[in-house]
Symmetry: C2
Subunit: 356 residues, 2 copies
């Protein structure tokens, strides 16, 4: 890589924040919707329609024209959707949910990345919200964080859980523990997708999640098959289960904490018991330019959500499981051809058995 | 452009903010300097050296390895500089000054872009600093904004002024007005680069700039040839000058304000008087993918500095000058081959004469 190529790459990075908000703002202002409904509007008419000066409309649409997202007719001054008009509505909604998450949960917070890394705290939450703690605590108190976070997580869960449950084995009549199962959605999916006579799923999370979790079980009509146990995964994990699920959780922690979780699960299981993990992973070849996980997750976990953590490679999780006493029976990464091209996380499943 | 290509491009945009701070944080934490001094350090040793957990060092360096900026030896766990080691120190310093500006002046502020566009105010300055006004007012009160802004602007001015003065004509003994000349740097450069018997340069700006401006003239030994006039370009521009300079100023305003400035200058000049403008411009072909001005300036001016404004194409400025009564004698864009590849703005010069 020549110095010139490195410097050109720096420029690509430098325009990252402004470019991101320029795109999102065109949606937030309603410019894209207006052009969908009325192709051929000028900057003046667009500005009138959305309550913005035409000068600003022209400025914001420059980048959309550069990208080929929007077309501009020099002679008439008319704008119309180009590439943006061809994207299916569901795809746009998914991408916008992600962009909104990045805007609300990351854009300002990441300013404090260096200080967050030095202190191991999410300094941005303290500075911007006066909140001491991590994002998962902050969402309970701050509506804007909660709205953007839950909208995204529910969407991610709905998209990924069918793949997860197709790929894991839950024996008929098994007793299943969903570790850090939040308010029960994972337990509900487990019961719905793996139903068998006697199957019972228990959500394990902090005691304050119990009420909402039980309400969710009732609303989904699974209250006879699902239950809640309150506790702290770092203190003690309840025993007596055949299968433990760990979804969207290991990536939140540094190695030491991941080991405490895995050895705790190992201790809680009887011989023959299984753990099934769903987690985003970095590619084995970190230089894979089609994979964007390392462009996002390090700053996101360190600077915006936890002040620690971040995904690992599949091979790293595999060896950590083995170091914690498990025998890995499956380690599979989702085929990127099956993931829409705007989606950043590449997810993996690891299944392992306590053999001794 | 296929919908898949559009969605993939969205992903590129989405990682913009996190990627930007990941890179900058590696410099801020001192990881790059440590690796320059001691190639082959592991994450543990790097973490010790800069006071950060090795887990976080590993996370932040993943992206550097992906980019080929840093090399990682799987066997020994040792990191060393790859492409980053080949960039000249002066180039790195210039790029880091720009990155710091973007971090301090834009990264958090741009979160409020949509609201800023709706109100025509820099909402981010109000929300983050409690400041009512634009960036140029805010730098007077807030040290962090001032430091990042002045560091960059002094660097930009030092780089671009020699090109500007080589390309404009200042007749011997001319009376020159530097419009919105701030604290005199442009006047000093004019005198130094265009010296002739009788040449006199006057900085015109808000009265509160006078003291610092005159001090700068004395410190540079040009107080006999330079003077200051206080005023407001939108109220009245002083007459009696042969040449008016407008540097780094027109791009801050919407069309209506640009016209007020240009007609005001036209009114102030005698027939035969000249105006010389230095301003970043958008490329004539807005889809030029090597030009990053539209990736940066719309959000930057609308969301971070002015709540209005932004550059135009060279052809637009040319026709605006003509609409305001001038005859354009020169319109030249800096050759991008002469601009280092990390630098975003592409500057242009327009010279014009009052012919009637």
């Amino acid at each position: 890589m020549t110095p010139e190529a490195t410097l050109a790459r720096f420029r690509e990075y430098m325009v990252g924040p402004t470019r991101f908000m320029n795109l999102l703002s065109c949606f937030e202002l309603g410019l894209v919707d207006r052009l969908r409904d009325n192709p051929g509007l000028t900057a003046v008419k667009l500005g009138d329609a959305v309550g913005v000066k035409p000068d600003a409309v022209e400025q914001l649409l420059q980048l959309m024209v550069k990208e080929g997202f929007v077309a501009y007719d020099e002679g008439s001054g008319a704008y119309s959707l180009a590439a943006l008009g061809d994207v299916a509505e569901g795809d746009l909604r998914r991408a916008l949910a992600y962009m909104n998450l990045i805007k609300v949960v990351a854009l300002r917070q990441v300013y404090y990345l260096t200080e967050s890394v030095r202190t191991g705290q999410v300094v941005g939450l303290k500075e911007l919200y006066g909140f001491d703690g991590n994002l998962y605590g902050a969402v309970a108190e701050h509506q804007d964080l909660r709205d953007s976070w839950l909208t995204l997580m529910n969407r991610v869960t709905a998209n990924i859980d069918p793949w997860f449950f197709t790929n894991i084995d839950v024996p008929a009549g098994a007793q299943v523990l969903d570790l850090a199962g939040n308010t029960g959605l994972g337990a509900i999916h487990t019961y719905q997708m793996k139903t068998s006579p006697g199957l019972r799923v228990t959500t394990f999370d902090l005691p304050e999640k119990e009420e909402e979790c039980l309400r969710n079980f009732r609303e989904h009509g699974v209250e006879e098959h699902c239950s809640f146990v309150g506790g702290d995964v770092f203190a003690s994990i309840p025993g007596g289960f055949d299968v433990v699920l760990i979804k969207h959780f290991l990536d939140m922690f540094d190695k030491e904490e991941v080991f405490r979780i895995l050895t705790g699960v190992h201790r809680s299981l009887n011989v023959g018991g299984q753990v099934n993990i769903l987690v985003p992973v970095y590619p084995e070849d970190i230089t894979d330019s089609d994979n964007y996980n390392v462009d996002f997750f390090p700053s996101f976990f360190l600077g915006c959500t936890m002040g620690q953590g971040g995904p690992q490679k599949l091979s790293t999780y595999r060896s950590w499981l083995e170091e914690c006493g498990f025998t890995v029976t499956k380690a599979v990464t989702k085929d990127s051809a099956e993931v829409p091209p705007d989606v950043i996380p590449v997810q993996a499943i690891l299944s392992a058995t306590k053999t001794a």
